[in-house]
């Protein structure tokens, strides 16, 4: 078992030596500092006149545009519909992909049957399906969900199959000698072993689902954040466009923090790894 000592935060050691820990306060301060730099740079180039407002709105105008979107144009409805599309498509994809991935990782014939096709399908760009999906399903919710499903499903299946397949062999053998059968091995050894990584994969793929939904909304939709961004382009309102993009980042950041908190609660046994 690897339990390499992580160099602690001690006096006399520079934090710029590899793997030297920093205090939680310093971590938060540095993270916030980058946002400050980012806004400073943005404000600098816009207010300093380096970039024309037509191409890049300054921070104040961007947030004013954002305020107007919520106050006057009912933007909250668009946000809600985009979030529900992402969550809906992602949940459907995960609900099918996770069990299939587990079956593939655990049972070699299942893997041999699905793996080559899934590896192929994984490279099919989900966005390229949008024109086809519009033909098949129209521009309604089903089409949005389908785009996310195609984009997320194959990735999840493959990554989970690999994680389950990489379960430590000695743990599986120990479980066998304790009388576990196939069901016990899959459900009570492989699944808990891979669970933290599965959660991590889902967090990653959820991020990609956001990209797919926005692309789908840019191409053909009458609501949603992507639709708003497309509309704003028509009026050359870069403030609104930037605000829309910014908001997606903010929602992503919040979900990420939520996922991390959930992981800490769900997998207390691996704290400190």
């Amino acid at each position: 078992m690897s339990r390499a000592p992580v160099p602690g935060h001690r006096q006399g050691r520079s934090p710029f030596e590899p793997l030297v820990a920093i205090t939680p306060r310093a971590r938060v301060a540095l993270g916030v500092a980058f946002f400050v730099c980012f806004f400073a740079l943005w404000g600098g180039v816009t207010w300093g006149g380096l970039v024309k407002p037509l191409f890049l709105a300054d921070p104040a105008r961007t947030f004013a545009a954002g305020w107007r979107l919520f106050a006057e144009f009912g933007f909250i409805g668009d946000v809600a519909i985009t979030v529900s599309r992402v969550v809906g498509g992602f949940v459907i994809a995960a609900a099918v992909a996770v069990p299939l991935g587990i079956a593939m990782g655990a049972f070699k014939p299942v893997e041999a049957f699905f793996e080559p096709f899934v590896s192929f399908a994984r490279y099919l760009p989900a966005s390229a399906f949008i024109p086809l999906l519009i033909l098949w399903l129209g521009v309604d919710e089903a089409q949005k969900l389908a785009v996310i499903f195609i984009g997320a499903f194959f990735q999840i299946v493959l990554m989970i199959a690999v994680m389950i397949g990489e379960t430590r062999r000695d743990l599986v053998e120990a479980a066998y000698t304790l009388g576990a059968g196939s069901r016990g091995i899959v459900l009570r050894v492989m699944l808990p072993y891979a669970a933290p990584q599965i959660a991590e994969t889902l967090r990653l793929v959820l991020g990609w689902a956001w990209t797919y939904v926005i692309v789908a909304e840019l191409i053909g939709a009458d609501s949603g954040i992507g639709h708003m961004i497309m509309d704003s382009q028509r009026f050359l309102d870069t403030g609104q466009m930037i605000f829309g993009i910014f908001l997606i980042g903010a929602i992503g950041l919040v979900t990420d923090l939520g996922f991390r908190a959930a992981n800490r609660l769900l997998f207390p046994w691996q704290l400190g790894r």
Partner: protein, 262 residues
């Protein structure tokens, strides 16, 4: 009837990329009586672990068969508890849940599992650690838990594959005493694989010396030291005499093994 009988069991691993197959174990016979404590001693790579894994059902013999309680071994089962050299506790389960794993797989209800785990934790000195996760435990504590986990199914046979191999010398000595106490109390049939001569003599009633690869039983030495054994026994002349005899036998094999690995 012998608790374990190994009948002409051999193991050959197929050659890599059409190369010559490697023989790990020459066909060998061995009968282990009920409640006996047998140590299998040999240089590293002599196939002693392979032999144990075949008895456990984790590896398949290329020839011969293993009978446990008169039935042929085809797969692993709860009748043969095993402790491995590597730390194999389930990291997501607490000490108590790890110990209760086997009973749980057999459908033993929660309250009963708890009772089994509490009793075993007391027997192996883990009281107070019930709710610890494995990563919070020292190596010695982890192997205590692993031993308790193997005992929780109350197996007739205990298979130990260098269980203390990764521990420091002092912890190792304590674990040997612990295991002896367990054996003296429960009288399980034990097959114990090790490359430590002192350990083999201290623990076992019979010590089998295996040759360097391919493994074959070269010598059998009885250890007629009385039970219960105390660590001071390691300093007696009788102990030293048996140790010397085994050292002689194993030295030759280690030299041969070293020459093969050049």
């Amino acid at each position: 009837m012998a608790a374990v009988s190994i009948e002409g069991v051999g193991r050959e691993f197929p050659g890599l990329r059409g190369g010559k197959p490697t023989r790990a174990v020459e066909p060998l016979d061995l009968a282990v009586a009920d409640t006996d404590f047998v140590a299998i001693l040999g240089p590293s790579g002599c196939g002693k672990s392979t032999l144990l894994r075949i008895v456990a059902g984790l590896d398949q013999a290329t020839e011969g068969r293993v009978l446990v309680g008169g039935r042929e071994v085809t797969r692993p089962g709860a009748d043969r508890g095993m402790v491995f050299q590597s730390y194999t506790l389930f990291p997501w389960l607490t000490v108590r849940e790890n110990i209760g794993f086997g009973p749980r797989e057999r459908g033993v209800p929660e309250a009963e599992r708890r009772r089994i785990a509490d009793r075993l934790m007391q027997q192996v000195g883990l009281t107070g650690f019930a709710d610890h996760y494995p990563r919070m435990l020292s190596g010695g504590m982890q192997q205590r838990t692993a031993l308790a986990r193997a005992l929780a199914n109350d197996p007739a046979i205990l298979l130990l594959d260098e269980p203390f191999g990764a521990l420091d010398h002092q912890t190792r000595a304590l674990m040997q005493e612990l295991l002896l106490q367990v054996w003296e109390a429960d009288r399980k049939t034990v097959l114990f694989v090790t490359h430590d001569i002192e350990e083999a003599v201290f623990m076992a009633n019979r010590v089998l010396v295996m040759t360097a690869r391919p493994g074959r039983i070269k010598k059998e030495v009885a250890v007629p030291l009385p039970h219960p054994r105390h660590w001071r026994m390691k300093t007696t002349p009788e102990f030293a005499a048996i140790e010397e005899e085994l050292t002689e036998a194993i030295r030759e094999e280690s030299l041969r093994a070293a020459a093969m690995n050049v």
